[in-house]
C-alpha cells in the first residue's frame, strides 16, 4: 500500500516537472513569429537521401554529416541510399517530400552542373529548385597514367604521335568533362572510353588498356603514392594540399577547372527558420574533430559556404561549361 502510494507520488512529481519544463519551453518561444512547423522541429528522425550506392564517397560524406547533425539536433539522422541516374532519382524523390526539413539530400555538384550537359533537358536537375542548407566539401579530379606509360606531362600526350585514349568514370561526370575540355584545348586528338565508375577506370589505366584517366583524388592517391600511377595534372583552380607537387591544368596553360562539390539540400519551400536550424547543426558537425579527420582522410577540401553562394557558383559553373562545350563542339552525351 505504502509502496503504491510512493510510486504514484513519484510519477506525479515527474509529470509536474515535465509540464513545467514544457511551459518554459513554450514561453521562451512565445515572442517568435514561427510557424508551428519550425517550433516543433525536429519532429522525429531526419532522413538524408543519398543518390549513390552505399560505400561510395558521397555515401560516406552523407554518413559523416548525418552523425554530427544527429548529436547536435538530438534526433536520429539516418542515411537512405536511393541510387540511380547520377542521383536524379533521389532528387526527384526529395522534390516530392514535405518541405518540413525532415527529409534532406546530399546533392552532387556534377548532377547540377555537368549531367545537364549530357542528358535531355527535361531530365536535368536544377539545384535552384531546392533550398540549399549548406555546401559541404570539394573533391579533386586528377589525370593519371600508368607508371610505365612514358607520359608525365600534357606535352608528352600531345607529342604521342597518335590519338590518345582516355578512360572516364562515366557519361556526364566530372571525369569526362575535365578530360574533354583539356584535350580539346590542348588540341590533342583523343578518344573517350567510358567505364562504370572510378575503380574499373583505375584498373584500365593501371593495365595500360587506356593511356590516361581522370579519377577522384581519394581513389587514386594510394596508387600514386605507391608509384604505380603517375599524376599528370589536377583540375582544381589551386593545387590540392594533398598533392602539392602536381601542377594544375591551369598552371599547365589550360582553362579547365572541374571539381566535384557536394551540398546538403532540402525540398523547395522549407521555412527559413528550419533551414537555419539545420545549417547550425551542420556547421556544428563540421567543427567536430572526427568530421575534420574524416575530410583529411578522404582528401576532401571543406567548402562550407551558404546556400545562396553555392547556388550562384553552381549556376555559373553550368553556364561556363555550357559555353566552352559549345565552343569546342564537345558532345558529352548523344541525347542533346
Amino acid at each position: 500500500m505504502t509502496q503504491t502510494n510512493r510510486v504514484r507520488r513519484g510519477t506525479a512529481a515527474g509529470l509536474g516537472v515535465a509540464a513545467a519544463l514544457a511551459l518554459t519551453a513554450c514561453g521562451g518561444n512565445l515572442g517568435g513569429d514561427d510557424t508551428a512547423d519550425a517550433e516543433s522541429f525536429p519532429d522525429g528522425p531526419i532522413t538524408i537521401l543519398v543518390g549513390q550506392d552505399p560505400g561510395g564517397s558521397t555515401d560516406l560524406i552523407g554518413r559523416a554529416v548525418a552523425e554530427g547533425m544527429s548529436d547536435e539536433l538530438g534526433v536520429a539522422v539516418t542515411v537512405e541510399n536511393r541510387p540511380g541516374a547520377n542521383g536524379a532519382l533521389a532528387a526527384q524523390q526529395l522534390a516530392g517530400e514535405a518541405a518540413d526539413g525532415q527529409t534532406l539530400m546530399i546533392f552532387n555538384g556534377s548532377l547540377g552542373y555537368i549531367t545537364p550537359l549530357a542528358v535531355p533537358e527535361d531530365e536535368a536537375v536544377d539545384v535552384n529548385d531546392y533550398e540549399v542548407v549548406t555546401g559541404i566539401s570539394l573533391d579533386d579530379y586528377v589525370l593519371v597514367t600508368a607508371a610505365g606509360s612514358g607520359f608525365s606531362t600534357v606535352e608528352d600526350l600531345a607529342a604521342a604521335g597518335r590519338p590518345v585514349t582516355f578512360g572516364t568514370t562515366g557519361v556526364g561526370t566530372g571525369s569526362q568533362l575535365s578530360q574533354e575540355l583539356l584535350f580539346n584545348q590542348a588540341g590533342i586528338e583523343a578518344t573517350a572510353v567510358p567505364f562504370d565508375g572510378g575503380s574499373p577506370t583505375l584498373t584500365a589505366v593501371l593495365g595500360g588498356q587506356v593511356d590516361v584517366g581522370s579519377i577522384q583524388l581519394g581513389e587514386a592517391i594510394e596508387r600514386i603514392e605507391g608509384g604505380e600511377l603517375t599524376p599528370i595534372v589536377t583540375f582544381a583552380e589551386e593545387r590540392p594540399s594533398f598533392l602539392p607537387d602536381t601542377p594544375t591544368a591551369i598552371e599547365a596553360g589550360y582553362d579547365v577547372p572541374v571539381q566535384q562539390s557536394r551540398a546538403l539540400v532540402a525540398p523547395e519551400g522549407t521555412p527559413d527558420e528550419i533551414i537555419e536550424q539545420l545549417r547550425d547543426a551542420a556547421r556544428a558537425a563540421f567543427e567536430t574533430d572526427s568530421y575534420q579527420e574524416f575530410n583529411e582522410n578522404n582528401l576532401l577540401t571543406p567548402n562550407e559556404i551558404d546556400g545562396e553562394e553555392l547556388q550562384q557558383r553552381w549556376t555559373e559553373n553550368l553556364e561556363q561549361y555550357r559555353s566552352v562545350v559549345e565552343e569546342y563542339g564537345i558532345d558529352l552525351g548523344g541525347a542533346q
Binding site: 537512405e80 585514349t165 558529352l332 548523344g334
Partner: protein, 504 residues
C-alpha cells in the same frame, strides 16, 4: 606461392561470427537441399537483402555455405525417398534409392557424404592454386578480353546447360534483350526507359534474380501436389564397408576431377557435372548392368562431382567477375550489394574476402560431413512442413527484402513481374538460369565490345592480335564449329548405311 594471405584467410574464417554464419549457411543449405522446389539459387536470392548489415566476408561465407550445403541435403531425399531435393542429385536417385531398398541406405548416404567431402576438398585445393594464377593476368584483362569472355560465356550458357537447347537459347536471348534497357552508358541516350527515371540505370540485377529464382520457384512449387511423406526407414550402417570404399574410391576421384572442370565452365555447374560423372562411371564400368540396381559408384561419382563443381564455379566469379551458373549470378548480386565488384583485382585487393570465403569451404565441408549423417532423420522431418505455410512466409520475406536493398517500391513491382515470368517459364519448361546469366553477361559484352572498338579505333582485328582475347575467340569458334564438324564426320561415315543421327 605466397602463403601469408592464405593463412590470414584462416584467421578470418575462425572468427566466431564467421564460424557461426558458416554454420548457419550450411544448415540452411541442407534444409533447402532437402526441400524439393526450393533450390540454392532461390534461397540465396531470397536471403540477399538480409546480408546488407553484415560484413562482406561473413555474408559471402554464409551464402556459399547455402550453395554447397544444398548439394549434401539434396542427396538425403534422393536416397531415402526417391525424391531429389536438388536438380544436381537427380542421378543419385537411380542407385541411391536402389541401395536404400536393399537396406543399405546408410551405406549410400555415407558414401555420398564422403564423396561430397572429398570432391569439395579437392576442388578447394585446386581453387587455391588456380585462382591466384588467373588473377596474375588481372591487368592484362582489358575490354577486348572481357568481350571475348562474355561472348564465350553466353554461347556456353545457352548451349551446354542441361535442359532443352532451343529453350535455353530463347531464354538467353530474352536476357540479352533485357540487358539493353537503360540509359546508354556511352552516349546518354535513353533505351526502353519509357521516361521512367527508375529505368535510367537499366534493370537492376537483384530484383530480377529474386523474382525469377525466388518468387517464380515459390509459385511453381505451390502448384505441385504435396503428398504425405512416408517416414523413412531407420538409417543404420552409415559407415560404408571397406569393400564399398574400395569399390567407390576411383569413382570419387574421377568424379571430383570431372566436377572441378565442369564447374568452371559457364553454364556448367553442379547439375551438369553430376550427370556427366554418372554416365562416365557407367561407361567405364566392367559391369554396367549393376548401375540403377544399387551400384555404390553410381552414388559416389555424381555426389563427388556436384560438390566439386559447386566449389570450382567460384573460380570464374572471384577471379574474372563472370558468374558461371545461376547460383553464382546471385552471389555476384550479393557482392554488388556489398559494394564489391568481383574481378581480377579481388584476390590482390581484398585477400581477406577471397581467402576468407575459400577457406570457409574447408570448415563448411567438415561441418556438413559431421552433421549430414546423424541429422538425417531431422532433415527428413522438414519435408512435412507444408508448402502452404512456407510459401506465404517466403513471399513476404522476398518482397520486404527487395525493398530494403535500394529503398525502392519500383523494385517490388519488378520482383512481382519477374516472379510471374519465372513461374510461366518453369511451367513451360524454360530454365530461368540462361536468362539471368545472359542478362549479366549481355551488359558486360555490350559495354566491353564498344570500349574495345573505341580503343582499337574501330578496327575489329584488334581482338585477334591480343593473345588472351585471340585464344578465347578461337575457343569460341571451336565450340560453335565442333558439333557441326562432328555432324559432318558422322554423316560421311553413316552415308552408306542410313541418315546420320543427331550427334550427342
Amino acid at each position: 606461392m605466397d602463403l601469408a594471405p592464405v593463412l590470414d584467410g584462416f584467421t578470418v574464417v575462425l572468427e566466431p561470427t564467421n564460424l557461426l554464419y558458416c554454420l548457419i549457411g550450411v544448415v540452411i543449405g541442407m534444409l533447402v537441399g532437402v526441400l524439393p522446389g526450393l533450390g540454392p539459387a532461390a534461397t540465396i536470392a531470397i536471403l540477399l537483402p538480409l546480408t546488407i548489415g553484415i560484413d562482406t566476408v561473413t555474408a559471402i561465407i554464409m551464402l556459399a555455405g547455402i550453395f554447397y550445403g544444398a548439394q549434401y541435403g539434396g542427396t538425403i531425399t534422393s536416397v531415402l525417398l526417391r525424391l531429389p531435393g536438388e536438380a544436381s542429385t537427380v542421378v543419385t536417385v537411380f542407385d541411391g534409392y536402389a541401395l536404400a531398398r536393399q537396406g543399405k541406405a546408410g551405406t549410400a548416404l555415407g558414401i555420398a557424404a564422403i564423396g561430397s567431402f572429398v570432391g569439395g576438398t579437392i576442388s578447394i585445393v585446386a581453387l587455391s592454386f588456380v585462382a591466384p594464377l588467373v588473377a596474375g593476368f588481372a591487368l592484362d584483362f582489358g575490354p577486348p578480353e572481357y568481350t571475348a569472355l562474355a561472348l564465350l560465356g553466353i554461347l556456353l550458357v545457352s548451349t551446354i546447360s542441361s535442359g532443352d537447347r532451343i529453350k535455353a537459347l530463347v531464354a538467353a536471348a530474352a536476357g540479352l534483350l533485357l540487358a539493353t534497357v537503360g540509359r546508354d552508358s556511352f552516349t546518354g541516350a535513353e533505351r526502353f526507359t519509357f521516361d521512367n527515371l527508375n529505368l535510367a540505370d537499366g534493370l537492376d540485377f537483384v530484383p530480377i534474380a529474386m523474382g525469377l529464382f525466388g518468387l517464380g520457384e515459390i509459385l511453381h512449387a505451390l502448384e505441385e501436389r504435396h503428398h504425405a511423406v512416408r517416414a523413412p526407414a531407420t538409417v543404420s550402417n552409415v559407415w560404408p564397408s571397406r569393400k564399398d570404399l574400395r569399390q567407390s574410391s576411383g569413382a570419387i576421384g574421377r568424379g571430383s576431377v570431372l566436377g572441378f572442370f565442369l564447374g568452371i565452365l559457364p553454364g556448367g555447374g553442379a547439375t551438369l557435372s553430376s550427370l556427366a560423372a554418372y554416365s562416365m562411371e557407367k561407361r567405364r564400368s566392367k559391369t554396367p548392368e549393376r548401375f540403377g540396381k544399387g551400384a555404390v559408384e553410381g552414388v559416389a561419382a555424381p555426389e563427388s562431382a556436384n560438390n566439386a563443381a559447386a566449389t570450382s564455379s567460384f573460380i570464374p566469379l572471384l577471379t574474372l567477375g563472370i558468374p558461371a551458373n545461376a547460383t553464382m549470378a546471385v552471389i555476384f548480386g550479393a557482392l554488388l550489394i556489398q559494394g564489391v565488384t568481383p574481378g581480377p583485382r579481388l584476390v590482390e585487393d581484398d585477400p581477406e574476402l577471397f581467402w576468407g570465403v575459400v577457406n570457409s569451404m574447408y570448415i563448411g565441408n567438415i561441418l556438413l560431413l559431421i552433421m549430414s549423417i546423424p541429422l538425417v532423420g531431422l532433415f527428413v522431418r522438414i519435408l512435412r512442413v507444408r508448402a502452404t505455410v512456407l510459401a506465404p512466409i517466403t513471399v513476404m520475406i522476398t518482397l520486404i527484402g527487395v525493398y530494403t536493398v535500394r529503398n525502392s517500391v519500383f523494385d517490388i513491382g519488378l520482383v512481382i513481374v519477374f516472379g510471374a515470368l519465372g513461374y510461366l517459364m518453369k511451367k513451360l519448361g524454360f530454365d530461368p538460369g540462361p536468362l539471368v546469366l545472359a542478362f549479366v553477361l549481355g551488359s558486360l559484352l555490350e559495354s566491353n565490345l564498344r570500349r574495345s572498338l573505341l580503343i582499337f579505333e574501330g578496327d575489329p582485328t584488334g581482338f585477334l592480335t591480343r593473345p588472351i582475347s585471340g585464344t578465347l575467340l578461337a575457343v569460341f569458334l571451336l565450340v560453335v564449329l565442333g558439333p557441326l564438324l562432328s555432324r559432318l564426320l558422322a554423316r560421311r561415315r553413316a552415308t552408306s548405311d542410313r541418315p546420320a543421327k543427331e550427334p550427342v
